[in-house]
């Protein structure tokens, strides 16, 4: 059992038990830990496969259509076929679809990181939705005010304020957890509702941020031209791909560096792995709860700001009440195993699913529109359900191995 990771050669010494297996409990947890590290890729992939197979079964049973054709339609609706249409045509329909997928991916990526960061500190931030909305509300306010501001300053200001708004909302939950021990699941859900109804009030008829000219519609003013994010692929009027995706990619790098290369990340992870050991080590658990929540909220707030400045440009009370992107972040983080790369890939998957099943892309002959968006939610739900699948994989592997040794 040499598990030497460094330069010291594994020796067979006196104090070292020659195996970790004799104790059945120890062996199980040891193997579980191993599987969680080694199976880091297997388990999420398997989760996705199972979710897709079950989703396909639902398609088959409820509509009688060929699930493979359905999935092909989603694949094409998401624009992923663009990659295979060589030479690449940057103005094709597939290109347009791909742009929409990447816009969605940007959002999911950021809300996914929000949930993932809190997870790394042992906290379940279920309030990504409220933090996302807080970022969006502040961004729409800043973006639609100051009409003649320098565009760089305007965009920067809206993004910073939106990000801080998310951090503040989540920071409240972190503060409550740190000081009085209020459970973050409860407080973040309550904050979701607070933000939602504040938004409804702000953009509602006669509300302080309601549209100045369309006084009969509960919607905000539009973001000023100068505050919109630059579109670098596709037609800005047709919702082309904006530069927000680079913020999302940057956030992945920041997330990874923050966790792995800074003292802040060390403290956050230590508290997440073992708060008692952190406390013993002189790390303030309360401080890290607050920081982790605030940083988590900052990712979600950034997502809200970028959606407003990138493609939405306005918020209505209806948007505020129907948006669920923050909750998708939970599935993204779970599937991505709270790692930067995993979250990015999971965000791409969900971005493609949501775009691919949006009804405008679908041919009713192979896909019933009623099923379309529900299929995505179904798959999302299955992914969350199968988060524990690594345990099942572990059990299966263990059985296979036992069978292998028994026949050997």
């Amino acid at each position: 059992m040499s598990d030497a990771g460094g330069g010291i050669p594994p020796v067979q010494p006196y104090g070292q038990p020659e195996g970790k297996l004799p104790d059945p409990e120890e062996s199980f947890s040891a193997r579980l830990a191993l599987a969680q590290r080694a199976g880091g890729l297997v388990a999420p992939l398997l989760t996705v496969v199972i979710a897709f197979v079950m989703g396909g079964l639902v398609v088959l049973i409820t509509t009688g259509k060929n699930p493979l054709k359905t999935y092909q339609a989603i694949f094409e609706g998401a624009g992923l076929n663009w990659f295979f249409q060589i030479p690449w045509d940057f103005d094709s329909v597939a290109a347009f679809n791909l742009q929409q997928t990447l816009i969605q991916t940007t959002t999911f990526n950021l809300v996914g990181l929000a949930v993932a960061f809190a997870f790394r500190c042992g906290l379940f931030n279920i309030g990504g939705q409220g933090q996302y909305l807080a970022g969006a509300i502040l961004a729409v306010w800043i973006g639609s005010s100051f009409q003649d501001l320098n565009p760089y300053l305007h965009v920067g200001l809206a993004i910073v304020i939106g990000t801080l708004a998310g951090a503040l909302i989540a920071g409240i939950a972190g503060f409550l957890k740190a000081t009085v021990g209020a459970h973050e699941v409860i407080s973040t859900i309550m904050l979701n509702w607070i933000v939602l109804w504040v938004g409804v009030y702000l953009f509602g008829l006669g509300g302080p941020l309601q549209n100045d000219t369309q006084t009969s519609v509960p919607v905000s003013n539009d973001v000023a031209e100068g505050a919109k994010l630059h579109v670098f692929w596709g037609d800005p009027l047709l919702q082309g791909l904006h530069i927000g995706i680079f913020f999302a990619l940057g956030a992945l790098i920041v997330y990874s560096i923050l966790l792995n290369r800074t003292t802040l990340g060390y403290g956050v992870k230590a508290v997440g792995f073992n708060p008692e050991a952190a406390r013993y080590g002189g790390i303030s658990v309360a401080r890290n709860y607050f920081l982790a929540m605030a940083i988590s909220g900052a990712f979600a707030g950034l997502a809200g700001a970028i959606d407003i400045l990138g493609w939405q440009f306005r918020l209505s009370t209806g948007d505020v009440q129907t948006s669920v992107v923050g909750f998708t972040g939970i599935a993204v983080a779970l599937l991505g195993r709270n790692t930067a790369i995993g979250t990015g890939l999971a965000a791409l998957l969900f971005g493609a699913l949501f775009t691919g099943t949006s009804t405008r892309n679908l041919d009713p002959d192979i896909f019933q529109p009623e099923l379309a968006s529900n299929l995505t939610l179904l798959i999302q739900g299955l992914v969350v359900l199968f988060v524990g699948v690594d345990l099942a994989v572990l059990w299966l592997l263990g059985r296979l191995r036992r069978k292998g040794t028994a026949t050997a």
């Binding site: 990771g5 104090g15 038990p17 040891a30 830990a33 290369r261 230590a270």
Partner: protein, 510 residues
């Protein structure tokens, strides 16, 4: 040995796990009425062998004969039917049920086939306990009786199921010296009545006292089966470890200098409002080891937590190297010169998911050279860890190995390395050798003495009496949150045992 029949033979038992042979061609036999001790370090294969006997594992090779007949022990139930009874180190009793209810559990006498016949159950329990001299009150609730009595209930449970072969797994680990003595009386009574006992332990003196024969395992192999007569602690330790071991650390007289840890009239109240530390004053000087002995749960944990800033203090003061730190945070204590080897290295001492290097940085990752302006230098952590791994002889991995992947002894070495490398003035060592095997214990003990001689003030809190006695220069006994007496290290275990149970409050005046 008179002619008595073999009740158990385990022949050529081999059990492999992926990557390791836990039992390699082991043979063990048990004569009727004998106590056969099974000795070996952690991971030597004792538990595997006993789990095979108890039907939890199936051997890859080999056979088991009980009373001369080959048996297949497919499950614990099969083992029980074959007459094997197991008393685990951690009792498997239901606290809110009575002694009798626990004993008959799953094999209850019934009336009309469905109703528990409690008076019949109590009668049978009484009968068995009388027959084997195991006095217990059948009506008492498990959570109201002492640990020693709970152990008797476990033994009675096995006897009720008509076990002829009793496996006792580290039975004295949870007992006071007096209770251990009583257990030995019970064991002798059982063997006189024809029961045969496999006694698992790592305490050499006990094994020599109670066993007729001793089998030593090392790294899954049978080293030797020898009669207890003629064996010595030294010879057994050598067989177990495979080299010479110093059982009692050699140490020179202490030269205590200035007081570095001063505790005055300390009171600590736990979160349920119960006063756990009731006015304790103590002092540890540079260059001495003060030991605190006591039975688990007499306020030792709370005393340690309060002295290290991990639990609020109700009243009183704590001084570290002259600075008052009573109300400081844990970090404040560390910065004032405290090193703390915690009671539970897995729950508190280590972040098991972190690497050795990261764990070594636990207290000072925020300062140079580990980091600067919040930027961590992982390579520097690794370099420092590499040096300490060498110095403290941590085996089983390098700096980037997960701490959770190390054996208990090596985990403890990592903790020790971290605490000592910070060059603390005061070192509080709580149960520093819990769960470690002979080789690792020797290492920890030697290192603690060395640190004492370096001029550190060391407070040793341990439940192991012989550890306290062999390391300490002065011994304090804690009972119900108070210091029940101070003793010189030459005091006998009996004297201390009496103070530990509150029997007498004396000793040399503090």
């Amino acid at each position: 040995m008179p002619e008595r029949s073999l009740v158990l033979e385990m022949r050529h038992i081999t059990k492999r796990f992926p990557g390791i042979v836990a039992n390699d061609d082991i043979g063990l036999d048990l004569v009727e009425g004998e106590v056969h001790a099974l000795l070996g370090e952690n991971g030597a294969g004792k538990s595997t062998l006993m789990n095979i006997l108890y039907g939890l594992y199936h051997p890859d090779e080999g056979e088991i004969l009980i009373k001369g007949k080959p048996v297949r022990l497919g499950s614990p139930n099969a083992a029980i039917d074959a007459g094997v009874g197991m008393v685990h180190q951690h009792f498997m009793l239901i606290p809110v049920m009575t002694v009798a209810e626990n004993i008959v559990l799953a094999q209850e006498p019934t009336t009309a086939g469905v109703f528990l016949d409690i008076s019949e159950a109590e009668r049978r329990v009484k009968e068995i306990s009388d027959r084997y001299g195991l006095a217990v009150d059948p009506h008492a609730r498990i959570d109201r009786i002492t640990v020693g009595q709970q152990q008797r209930v476990e033994i009675l449970k096995a006897l009720y199921r008509e076990a002829d072969i009793l496996v006792l797994d580290e039975p004295t680990a949870v007992l006071t010296p007096q209770e251990a003595r009583e257990l030995f009386e019970v064991i002798r009574g059982l063997t006189e009545r024809g029961k045969s006992i496999i006694f698992i332990s790592h305490k050499l003196n006990e094994v020599l006292e109670i066993a007729d024969r001793i089998t030593v395992l090392r790294r899954g192999k049978l080293i030797e089966t020898l009669p207890a007569e003629g064996a010595t602690e030294e010879s057994l330790a050598r067989l177990m470890v495979g080299r010479e071991v110093l059982l009692r650390v050699a140490k020179t007289p202490a030269h205590p200098a200035e007081p570095l840890l001063e505790v005055e009239d300390l009171r600590v109240v736990d979160d349920r409002g119960i006063e756990k530390v009731r006015g304790i004053s103590l002092e540890v000087r540079a260059g001495e080891i003060v030991g605190i002995a006591g039975i688990d749960g007499n306020g030792q944990s709370e005393l340690i937590d309060a002295m290290t800033g991990l639990m609020p203090v109700e009243s009183g003061t704590v001084r570290l190297a002259g600075d008052e730190v009573t109300t400081e945070s844990a970090r404040g204590h560390l910065e004032a010169g405290l090193g703390h080897i915690p009671e539970d290295r897995q729950r508190r001492g280590l972040v098991l998911e972190y690497s050795i290097a990261e764990n070594i940085a636990l207290h000072d990752y925020r300062a140079a050279p580990a980091s600067r302006f919040g930027w961590l230098f992982p390579r520097r952590l690794v370099e420092r860890a590499r040096a300490l791994i060498r110095e403290f002889d941590v085996r089983g991995g390098g700096p980037t190995t997960r701490a959770g992947g190390l054996s208990g002894g090596n985990q403890q070495k990592v903790v020790l390395a971290r605490e000592i490398d910070r060059d603390p003035r005061v070192l509080i060592a709580a149960q520093p050798t819990r769960g470690l095997d002979v080789g690792a214990i020797e290492f920890v003990h030697r290192r603690l003495i060395e640190e004492r001689d370096e001029g550190r003030a060391i407070l040793l809190v341990s439940l192991e009496l012989d550890e306290v006695l062999s390391l300490s220069d002065r011994v304090l006994v804690m009972f119900e949150g108070e210091i029940a007496g101070e003793f010189p290290p030459t005091a006998s275990e009996e004297e201390l045992g009496i103070a530990m149970t509150g029997g007498r409050r004396s000793g040399v005046a503090a």
